[in-house]
Symmetry: C2
Subunit: 398 residues, 2 copies
């Protein structure tokens, strides 16, 4: 029988990069490609105890649950968020299967085919895919390491009347950049003025390395819990563990109610077991201290990679030391194609993600993303040696 | 700030029924409304041990996992399905957040706005919502207790050229009906001939009460693992516990691959913890024996409710004893509106779902669904007394 798939499937094509990375399977390769946290830092014993505690409760724990998510976790999370100056009640929050689902549900309730979404490129690949699969037109705003160019944002808002601005302002994927306070306040003002909703995606906000600078979420800067111009999503994937698949989104009750209805059709609700375990974890485990541990180890790894990059003595490769997050962003000399470099790198024994995937409009072929959290210092050292060799080979061929 | 939601939100309106059922919250009310399994039968200790075993594995268990789902569970499930004559490899299977997500992802990869989906009404409410939110036109095929009218199905296929036929053929929600073998073979032949894909939704198939009749899945009747005219979805929600949110869908690799890509954008993957625990459960627990326990208890409850219905001595109320599943379907005398009856019933202390919700086209206002699995025999006895009183009151008012 022949199948006729929906037109949105065109946005889910397999990529050349995925095919190259498939070559790494089974090989002993050092991967700077994925956005993975360090496994050896997972608080396994604490998570085990948390699950154990779940079963001391009554059987109804195993029954169908609320689409909104486990009430006690929403309350505990609301309290936790208040320390970051995000003040919401449990009814202004929806628990999701990772923050990925929050982005997807937000698109479902807000985006119609043909609607415009503004982004600052490069940006999170899987968010672009979600918007595209809804039939949205993605328009890229000019910007730099400090965030969107506000004049360009306003110009494009006036021309295209977007429904949504998608921003990953704090230690962004893929660049590691962080928006300045001025830009945060600026985009909020522009969006509020023109009635454009901001989707603030913040999976890495807690992973700040050194420095006493404070980067408040855009949501927290918008002192309108009701009628907020911002919806804010984050996750436990980077602070506890990804396998628990628990993210959240907070915003105006109208938006949360609509997302809850959409979620009911999407999957009724996410895993109650994971949500109950996370609640037990928040009650009996010092998560802040744990995040400190992760932070110092990741900072060490980032410094290691940065030192090795500096050691390449290549002033024609542009990069900067990130203030947090999981990624380093490189711009190679013009003419060097990161996808070609990847082929050579995989032969040497190291992988990364070419930057082109993170653009919806005009990809910069000479960019790439390096992850430094999933490899230890020894692996980073070896991986960067391979990377340097691959770079030499690639340039010799030019 | 004013929000402009997407047009698909019109399909997620709050219903009058939901509002009535909200009145039951906090009240001591006997609910025949939800489609909930019996909590007291959950294999809590076995599930607890299963989770415990998960943690004897390495830390990578807590890392991001495959979108397709935990490999060992897919393999174990494939073996389990082979006993029901469903022969698939792990690559022809996707694990989902309940079978609800399977229906949703299937719609995403297969349905464009304006496409037609055939159903036999009444049918599963949340499936209708999914199709409607994709912008599908839902066309209802005539039918009876034995399944769709095959001539009407073929006629409508020729007129409307549907993309999909959605069927819940075994102990259906909401009717409890089960399709005959003849209709199963018939719809398969018609759909294969006209290149229409069948989505077979089978959450209740294992809950057969008495009788030696065998109701093979339509998928198993279609001896074309590749190029199959059927995709088949089911879940652990009814046999183990809903909180673990683990369903699956099997079908042609092309379809599964596309659904996997769509799932990557939807939520990356479902809870690995739940999937690993279910794998441990399948290895160390006699699930078949457990299903037998559930079956005999549910059968007892169903018989209890059926006896009480018979005791009403109302030949003008149409219903039949289901051969499996979780529901009894009632057709009241013409002129009696189930939604009005519900209001009276809630006052008396019992709830159910009026049947109108289960229709996309012309709702039958005098129908209703009773669940018998979530209440014990004592509650069923009391609930049916309340139900009878409410019926009297309602009729007195006519």
């Amino acid at each position: 029988m022949e199948y006729t798939f929906s037109s949105s499937m065109q946005h889910f094509k397999s990529s050349a990069v995925r095919d190259i990375l498939k070559l790494t399977q089974g090989k002993s390769i050092i991967s700077f490609a994925g956005g993975l946290p360090a496994e050896e830092l997972f608080p396994v014993e604490a998570i085990r105890s948390a699950f154990d505690r779940v079963f001391t409760h009554d059987n109804s724990a195993l029954q169908y649950g609320l689409t909104e998510g486990y009430t006690l976790l929403r309350e505990a999370l609301a309290e936790r968020l208040s320390k970051r100056n995000i003040h919401v009640t449990k009814d202004e929050m929806l628990l999701t299967t990772g923050s990925q689902q929050a982005i997807d549900l937000m698109s479902r309730v807000y985006i119609d085919p043909g609607d415009v979404v503004l982004v600052q490129e490069p940006t999170y690949l899987a968010a672009l895919q979600v918007f595209q699969s809804r039939g949205a037109r993605i328009i890229s705003v000019k910007g730099d390491e400090l965030g969107m160019d506000l004049e360009d944002a306003e110009r494009l808002i006036l021309i295209h009347k977007p429904k949504l601005v998608y921003i990953n302002p704090t230690f962004s994927n893929p660049t590691g950049y962080v928006w300045s306070l001025e830009r945060r306040l600026g985009i909020l003002q522009v969006c509020r003025q023109h009635h454009v909703l901001i989707l603030e995606d913040d999976p890495y906000g807690e992973l700040q390395y050194g420095g006493s600078e404070h980067f408040p979420s855009i949501f927290s800067l918008d002192q309108h819990p009701h009628g907020s111009a911002v919806v804010y999503t984050s996750t436990f994937s980077k602070t506890v563990a990804p396998a628990l698949r628990t993210g959240w989104i907070v915003g105006d009750p109208q938006i949360i109610t609509n997302m809850t209805r959409a979620k009911q059709a999407a999957d009724l609700h996410s895993s109650t077991m994971d949500q109950m375990a996370l609640y037990q974890l928040l009650c009996h485990f010092d998560l802040d201290k744990h995040v400190d541990t992760i932070r110092s180890e990741y900072e060490r790894r980032m410094k290691k990679m940065a030192t090795l990059l500096t050691g390449l003595n290549r002033s024609d490769i542009k990069w900067s030391e990130p203030k947090g997050g999981m990624f380093l962003w490189l711009e190679l000399p013009e003419g060097l194609v990161a996808e070609e470099l990847l082929k050579a790198a995989v032969q040497e024994g190291v992988a990364f993600v070419p930057g082109a995937s993170f653009y919806a409009e005009s990809p910069k072929l000479n960019t790439l993303r390096l992850n430094f959290t999933h490899s230890n210092e020894k692996q980073i050292e070896l991986g960067m040696q391979y990377f340097a060799k691959a770079l030499e080979q690639c340039e010799a061929r030019l």
